[in-house]
């Protein structure tokens, strides 16, 4: 084999290797782009694909699911006016700000006035009655006396 042919052979080899490398890079890039678009790689997991395809109506039902009288998403008690309260009282703070508290009707109204005057709460219009009645009924004060018993004690052996 002449020097020239030998060189041609080597060049061909290098050429083939380069093509291989490029193919790998291209495939990798394609995969990476795909992974960006579909991070869970669902197209490759046949079984999961079926699980992943969620029925929109079910998720919307779950969104406002009530279990044992409690609106799961917010923790509010299920009663007349629930959704009016959820809509008006959970956009600034979480529902926990509300459900931690116990007040009479007058004090719930006073709290709403305070938020309207100082915290940007809007005029509730005819929804105010619905909200106040719901709160006064479901989050009314209980008499705790001047000092309650210790409760929910978790007993453990101290060594």
């Amino acid at each position: 084999m002449s020097e020239e042919n030998k060189f041609k052979g080597q060049a061909k080899q290098v050429y083939r290797m380069l093509i291989m490398v490029w193919c790998v890079v291209l495939l990798g890039t394609a995969f990476a782009i795909y992974a960006l678009v579909d991070p869970s790689l669902s197209a490759f997991k046949e079984k999961e694909t079926e699980l992943v395809v969620v029925d929109d109506t079910i998720s919307e039902d779950d969104w406002d699911k009530v279990e044992n009288g409690i609106h799961l998403r917010t923790g509010f008690v299920d009663d007349d006016g629930l959704m009016t309260v959820v809509t008006n009282c959970t956009s600034c703070h979480s529902a926990k700000m509300v459900t931690q508290n116990r007040m009479t009707k007058e004090r719930w109204i006073a709290t709403i006035r305070w938020m309207q005057e100082t915290q940007n709460l809007w005029d509730l219009g005819k929804n105010e009655d619905i909200i106040v009645n719901y709160l006064a009924k479901n989050y009314a004060p209980k008499n705790m006396g001047r000092r309650a018993n210790l409760e929910n004690i978790e007993w453990y052996e101290l060594n």
Partner: protein, 392 residues
Amino acid sequence: MAGIIGADIVFGSKMPINYQPLALQDTDPFVLFGLDKEMVVLNDKPWNIEAKAHLLDEKVTSNKNMFIRNNGIPPENIDVASWTLVIDGESVEQTKTYTLSELKSKFKHYTYQLTVECGGNGRSEFNPPAKGNQWTIGAVSCASWTGVRLKDILDDVGVKDSAVYIGYHAADSHISRDPNKEPISRGVPMRKAVQEETLVAFKMNGEDIPAAHGYPLRLVCGGWPASTSGKWLNRISVRNIEHDGAKMKAPAYRVPKNTVAPGEKVEDEDMKIIESMPVKSLITYPKSGAVLELDKKLKIRGHAWAGELEVDQMEYSIDFGATWQTCSIEKPVNRLAWQHFNAVITFPEKGYYEVWARATDANGVGQPMLVPGWNPKGYLNNACHRIAVKVK
């Protein structure tokens, strides 16, 4: 979410300086803030999280056991290189702006252990219930704070004789996302502002202040309601009137001037601002619910504090206050730090006991066993802490 945030954030102190926690408002608070699993979340927007008594056993409260009281949404893009502290107001000689590095290089550094307790700690026990976050006993901490004295900064700026109050401003935003509204902007009268222990702090427990506690700068006024210790501090106004920022007006952080019957309506003008916090104590060991043999002695320990004052005397009772025994109590490491007490208890016979603890301050004022004077917003409940014990 945890995948994005990365478990490393548990070690908040090791966070890279410019790291911005993603979505500070809506992820797992235990991972996000590096909290002990037993911490109790009262509210998730804004974040309000408290400790349990036994979590506060450490002499110096660490980040993982430190209560979080946020009034708004913490700042999300913190760039320490461009962070500044502005001193302005009617009563400064000139408005002055300091970068963080200027603050650190220009003024002497001091480190104090400071008791920081939420004015509403204990609120859940008021009857009729008081509104707000229903704190039980865990909204108190005593960490070690390092910074410069506010007094030194004010001396450098120059303060006029007309100064009566300082008010802080910070980088957090109102939960309604209204950019013109501050979630909270409180302060203290000049006499507190110029105390040696009143710090503009940049370190907590020797490391960068954790994000939830005010990184990169916090005003710390030990012994006063924690709401006076403004987090994410970027401006202090020296006022010629009582500061009138958000949550300075009644009924916030105020109690009736004259005592009222439980549930009574109190007019705004009949309320006064809370200053020094009252005498209080916590049994931090053992955890409530201990069961022990009759022949065993019970060692108890905890902390006591009294706002601006020192605690002089510490006692415990195992008979619901019929008799009191003395605990030994240490001096504070510095003014405004809590003090540690301990005692060894022998029980006379088997049965259900409650160990009650009672601190008395330097003026001879002690903790009540019952919930103290009712007030509309449920502040300053310093009733004795107690734990349940069973002896077999």
